[in-house]
Symmetry: C2
Subunit: 266 residues, 2 copies
């Protein structure tokens, strides 16, 4: 079982000087730290965010051409799917709750709380955040997560029978490799947002969007709106012509070239 | 002022499967999470650790040739310095307290607690960790940090009159750019351990060791032991022939080439 302890957290939102060159980055960090106080974000989620920050920096902190292409393919796949589901963890809920609700409404995909560190209290908090952001229903909270995914151990295998269990496509972000692999083994398609092109999730997903989750979600919603009236054939063509491995290679080449340019400019 | 709140932390040390491919990485993370419970590590320190993890991954999680060279130059500088001081933050104390105490004894450099998020309770905890690891004295705790560094705002400028204030060389790791710049402006030499070759600390320090702090400290202590009997001239030659900018360039080129190779192997 988990052991739980009380600790003190100091929010330094008011201590950030307005002139600090990385002010925006610091404010996003404080958002996560503050959501750790509510229990929605776990400490391990902060470490994961740090890894993401690093890759985002290497990617130039912008949505690059390869990411735009994977967003387009993801929009096509979401529109082609009969039952897409959005899997939400603590970091996702803390960073872009309204944007997730909008995407959910636009593609008629339910939101399901699905945590690496499962715990009913946390599920409820995340459910609350999503409902406060406008969600009419949130799956995967408490006994709703009653179905099990055989490939995974312990509490991580619990999913909602109305959600991920019956989904043909799962949209997720910053996910553990084991879990992404389990979903793929079950025959589901996975759209993953992951800043690390080398993570097991990135390598395993059907479509990996190598970009910052905060930038991706609104862009994806916009793209879905734009592509809504396309024919199934056209959407199929876009989805089929997308090669995830090639796209990941492009992102690695981008980082490689950027590092090499930065070395020259030192 | 800081606001402080009670939150729950779940340690998952016992939930990590022994077969997990990244077990060691997960255990280091738990060490930090557990030290957040004692107050030694702050949430922002977890995010910083995550950034470090990413760069370590890009560097192949080993001490590369350029890092070996900077460790050699650092050993020379420590042996040449008349009053070197080791600046310790929460993450450093949580990850390698014994190794820091050994380095401190080997180069006769006092340990000084020096926090970005200063707070007497935290200072005391970190002092405790270091004393438990064998330190006979720890500077920078409470009223000992009575001198001020003019370049820095608020609590971050407080240092010990017996430590960083009078040091000619400061050894630090995972440090904020503003603070490293302030130390350099005061005419001090700075040896920085930083996995990000592009951070302001890395760019500003006299010697930057682009490697994982946990690997660096014992290696640096060993190098100091090996070089102890060298003449001042020989040590000077080693230190003078080290060019920090060139070394940082090499680390960037290394990452660039590694990413390009990984892209080919996908």
């Amino acid at each position: 079982m988990d052991s739980s302890h009380d600790i003190k957290v100091w929010s330094i939102r008011n201590l950030i000087p307005s002139t600090h060159p990385r002010k925006d980055t610091l404010l996003v960090r404080e958002k996560l730290v503050e959501q750790m106080e509510t229990g929605a974000v776990v400490p391990q989620g902060l470490i994961a965010h740090g890894r993401g920050e690093c890759f985002d920096y290497l990617l130039g902190e912008r949505t690059n051409a390869f990411a735009e292409r994977s967003i387009e393919a993801a929009a096509a796949l979401l529109l082609l799917s009969s039952y897409p589901v959005i899997s939400v963890n603590g970091n996702m809920a803390a960073l872009a709750p309204k944007e997730l609700v909008e995407l959910s409404k636009e593609v008629h995909a339910p939101l399901e709380v699905n945590l690496f560190y499962r715990n009913e209290e946390r599920e409820k908090k995340i459910g609350e955040i999503l409902r406060d952001a406008g969600a009419s229903e949130v799956l995967g909270v408490g006994i709703d997560a009653s179905e099990t995914i055989q490939e995974l151990f312990s509490e991580r295998r619990k999913v909602s029978s109305r959600g991920i269990y019956r989904a043909d496509t799962v949209f997720l972000a910053m996910e553990d490799g084991d879990r992404t692999e389990a979903l793929i083994k079950l025959g589901k398609k996975v759209i993953a947002v992951d800043l690390n092109p080398l993570s097991r999730t990135s390598m395993t997903a059907s479509i990996t969007i190598v970009d910052n989750f905060i930038r991706v979600v609104p862009k994806l919603t916009t793209r879905v709106k734009e592509m809504k009236n396309m024919s199934k054939d056209e959407l199929q063509r876009i989805f089929q012509s997308f090669n995830n491995k090639d796209n990941l290679k492009e992102s690695l080449k981008f980082i490689s070239e950027r590092m090499s340019q930065l070395a020259l400019s030192l």
